[in-house]
C-alpha cells in the first residue's frame, strides 16, 4: 500500500509506472495518489515530458553518411576478409589513425 511515506513511495515506482511495467494493483494505487497529490502529479507529468523531449530531439539526429563511408574504408572489407577468411585483419590501430578526421589533421601538422 502507498501510505505513510506515500510521495516517496510513489517516486520509487514511477519509472515502472511510466514504462507500463508496474502491476495493476500498483498502478491503481499510484493513480489514486496522483488524483490527490498535486506535487506528485506535477512530478509525473514533468518526468514524462523530460523523457519525451529527449526522444523528440534525439529522433532528428542522424549519422552523417561520410562517417559510415569512413568506417567502411577503415574496415576495408574487401581486403580484411578475402575468400580465405582465416587471414588475420590488418593492424586495426593503424587503420583507425589513417581514417579519422581529427587524426588526419594531426598528421598534417
Amino acid at each position: 500500500m502507498i501510505e505513510h511515506n506515500s510521495c516517496q513511495d510513489l517516486l520509487q515506482g514511477l519509472s515502472a509506472y511510466i514504462d507500463n511495467e508496474a502491476s495493476m494493483a500498483i498502478c491503481e494505487e499510484i493513480e489514486r495518489h496522483l488524483a490527490e497529490c498535486d506535487n506528485c502529479r506535477i512530478m509525473m507529468d514533468t518526468l514524462r515530458k523530460t523523457i519525451s523531449l529527449y526522444q523528440i530531439v534525439d529522433a532528428a539526429d542522424e549519422m552523417p553518411n561520410e562517417i559510415q563511408e569512413r568506417l567502411l574504408k577503415t574496415l576495408t572489407i574487401e581486403d580484411m576478409w578475402p575468400e580465405d577468411s582465416s587471414n588475420p585483419p590488418v593492424d586495426p590501430q593503424a587503420t583507425i589513425i589513417r581514417n579519422t578526421p581529427d587524426h588526419d589533421e594531426e598528421n598534417q601538422t
Binding site: 523523457i51 523531449l53 585483419p89 587503420t95
Partner: protein
C-alpha cells in the same frame, strides 16, 4: 532491437563479406549515436564507432550467441565509450550521488508544472543546449542506462546484458537518471514559466 535485417552469425563467422557490410549498415548508425551521446564529441564518437567494429570483427569467432548480435555490439561500444570517458575524467561521480527528490524525502519543495509551456519553448536552440548539458551532467553509469533504455529503446533485460548488471540495477539507475534530468530541466523551465507569467 532490430532483428529483421540482422545478418546471421554463421555468415559472419564464415567471413561472408556481405554479412559484414550488412552488420555495418544496420548497426553503425546506432553505435555512432550511442557513442555521440556518451562522449558528446563527434570525433571521439567516430573513434569509438571504428574501435567497436574493429573489435567486433576481430572477436566474431568468439561470439557464442548467448545475447543478440546487437546487444553484443552495444556492449563493446559501451565499454569503449566508458574507457574514453575515464581517460578524460578519471575521477567520476558516484552512481550514489544524491538525486533531488529521491534521496532527500524531507525536502519540502514546491514543484512547478512546466508542461504547460507553449510547445515553441521546447524547440529552441537554448532548450536543446539545456537538454544536452543536462545529459552530460549525468554520471557515466546513469547516462549509459538512460541512453540505452530511453533513447535506444532497449529492454531492461537487454540493457542488463549490455552492462552486465542485474535488471533491478538497471531499473534503479534509470529512475535516478530520469529524476536527475527532470530536476535539471525543471530549474530552467520553471524560470521560463515565471518569465512568461510576468510578461
Amino acid at each position: 532491437m532490430d532483428k529483421e535485417n540482422t545478418p546471421s552469425i554463421k555468415a559472419l563467422q564464415s567471413g561472408d563479406r556481405e554479412a559484414y557490410a550488412q552488420m555495418v549498415e544496420v548497426y553503425s548508425p546506432k553505435i555512432y549515436h550511442l557513442a555521440l551521446r556518451m562522449v558528446d564529441n563527434p570525433h571521439e564518437a567516430e573513434d569509438i564507432l571504428q574501435e567497436t567494429f574493429l573489435n567486433a570483427f576481430r572477436a566474431i569467432d568468439q561470439f557464442e550467441g548467448r545475447s543478440s548480435l546487437g546487444t553484443w555490439l552495444y556492449r563493446i561500444a559501451t565499454n569503449q565509450a566508458l574507457m574514453h570517458l575515464r581517460k578524460k575524467s578519471p575521477t567520476l561521480i558516484s552512481v550514489d550521488e544524491p538525486i533531488p527528490g529521491l534521496d532527500d524525502p524531507d525536502q519540502n519543495r514546491e514543484l512547478v508544472d512546466w508542461c504547460c509551456l507553449p510547445e515553441d519553448e521546447f524547440i529552441t536552440a537554448e532548450t536543446h543546449a539545456k537538454l544536452k548539458d543536462a545529459i552530460q551532467d549525468l554520471s557515466p553509469t546513469l547516462k549509459t542506462v538512460f541512453i540505452l533504455r530511453d533513447l535506444h529503446h532497449l529492454t531492461t533485460r537487454e540493457t542488463a546484458q549490455v552492462l552486465d548488471i542485474s535488471e533491478s540495477a538497471v531499473k534503479t539507475r534509470l529512475l535516478r537518471a530520469r529524476l536527475q534530468l527532470r530536476d535539471s530541466l525543471s530549474s530552467y523551465f520553471s524560470e521560463r514559466v515565471k518569465e512568461i507569467d510576468n510578461d
